[in-house]
Symmetry: C2
Subunit: 295 residues, 2 copies
């Protein structure tokens, strides 16, 4: 088994996780959790979304969250999700240097998710790139492994999006298993094609644990040479199409597996678990993370 | 990725799963679940334990369960766990042709679990083998990947048990990750040593999903050539040392991953899921299986 020596974990709980929580999480509590994550040495974090408050009321304090984190901690790589140029501009003005922009590999999912065709999304992304040239952009390819509406997503569509992203000068592409349907064989197959086709691309992976295959897929990706993974504290983040389903891979489960295999993540697991316990105590009692369920 | 074409799943829910349920499961309900499992084409099942009713009251109907399954279904491979010769004799007399006998790789765990040293357990096993020569015996090596009392278990102790088992003429050895602590790198390392050292041994694997690594470990074992896995419907079966922890790998999650990767299990997943839903409705509301959590 050929594994990397180090792995970078991108914590997406405060964005992907919190946005799925229906009850309002006070800004102070958001900051408490983010502080806990930073204390565990997570230093690249998707902290919020600059979306319209009517679309996701939970994220209405985006600018305040960003200001408080920037003011409180030096040297953090903070990422914010933005759905369009307006969001990107607001993020930039709040001090954000890197944004996540989401386009689905599945046309149908893109329309359901952001009310645009993929072509329209790419045009918008080009606009952001031109108008905010200093902004670092990570493109999340949603439904890269399967779509809740159409089932299988042809690999060619993912490869075409890689092509388009690189032409556009996108800084990083994150392949997202939005509905947690990827299996290890499929993960290997897709990654081999993407890495062979686009050897210079900066890649990251975002798996959900919906069907229990999250860490198996992570293992395969590690063996393919991937060294950047997104995960969420406690396994936060679900799928609105699958009530009761597990969410993202829990960051603490990910760190545990990696460190047990001798891969350095730089994360302090006991401190991270304390933060997961805080999430459990103050935000969601039923977390899908495995380690936190034993706490 | 080199994967086998077919895999045999051994369902252990009615034994390993039910024994961890504190409230009495009526025999009729046990039979209903076992019937459901058989309907899904599971035909090798660990159906009960012939243990002293004071030790595990849940298993006091062992003989009745066996009789009813034998009477109701032809061609099933039924396995019963036995803790000693008395249990093995009772199982044999009830019509059982194959038993599971458990010895821990960790001496301390063996003493805590069965109140015997490993040497005493092996002597007892030899006694069973001599007095019931026609009985097929599967040896479960518990704590093969780690012990709740001692932590790491030296690989040499597992290899020595392989040696002793084969000398004794044991038919199959199942390496059990009793506390769900195995990581994929460790799984590969142990399996390479066991398979290289004992190429003729019939091996199976029994993983728990305690830390979310169950299917990742399964994947590695598949790549090492293992084609027999134990799992439990719904993810039943916990660890008394870790309240709240996930149990065995859920059979339906295992089948889903295998079939998605093109590996034939022979199992009818929709029928299996119906049975998992019955377990959820009638026995345990909080199951750790992923697919059943979405039902």
């Amino acid at each position: 088994m050929k594994l990397p020596q180090t792995v970078k974990i991108v914590e997406v709980g405060p964005r992907d996780g919190f946005q799925s929580i229906n009850k309002w999480i006070p800004t102070d509590l958001k900051i408490e959790i983010i502080s806990g994550l930073i204390s565990a040495n997570l230093n690249r974090l998707e902290v919020t979304s600059f979306v319209h408050p009517k679309a996701i009321p939970q994220m209405q304090d985006a600018a305040e969250v960003v200001h408080r984190v920037i003011d409180g901690y030096k040297g953090m790589e903070l990422i914010a999700l933005v759905p369009n140029y307006t969001g990107a501009k607001a993020a930039w003005e709040a001090g954000i240097k890197e944004v996540t922009y989401v386009i689905s590999a599945s046309e149908k999912h893109n329309i359901e998710n952001v009310r645009r065709t993929k072509t329209e999304s790419f045009a918008d992304l080009r606009n952001i790139k031109e108008l905010l040239p200093e902004l670092t952009i990570k493109l999340d390819i949603a439904t890269a492994f399967g779509c809740p509406f159409l089932g299988q997503v042809p690999v060619e569509q993912v490869l075409q999006m890689m092509e388009d992203s690189l032409k556009l000068g996108i800084d990083e592409v994150c392949l997202c298993d939005t509905i947690g349907i990827a299996n290890p064989l499929q993960t290997e197959s897709l990654l081999v094609k993407v890495i062979t086709g686009y050897p210079g691309a900066k890649l990251s992976l975002h798996f959900h644990d919906t069907r229990g295959m999250g860490l198996a897929n992570t293992l395969v990706a590690l063996e393919c040479g991937i060294t950047t993974f997104e995960s969420a504290i406690g396994g936060l983040g679900g799928c609105p199409f699958a009530p009761g389903a597990a969410g993202n891979i829990a960051t603490e489960d990910m760190v545990n597996m990696l460190e047990q295999m001798g891969i350095d993540t730089g994360i302090d697991l006991p401190v991270l678990l304390q933060t997961a316990k805080t999430v459990k105590a103050k935000i969601v009692q039923e977390l899908s993370g495995h380690l936190v369920s034993m706490c």
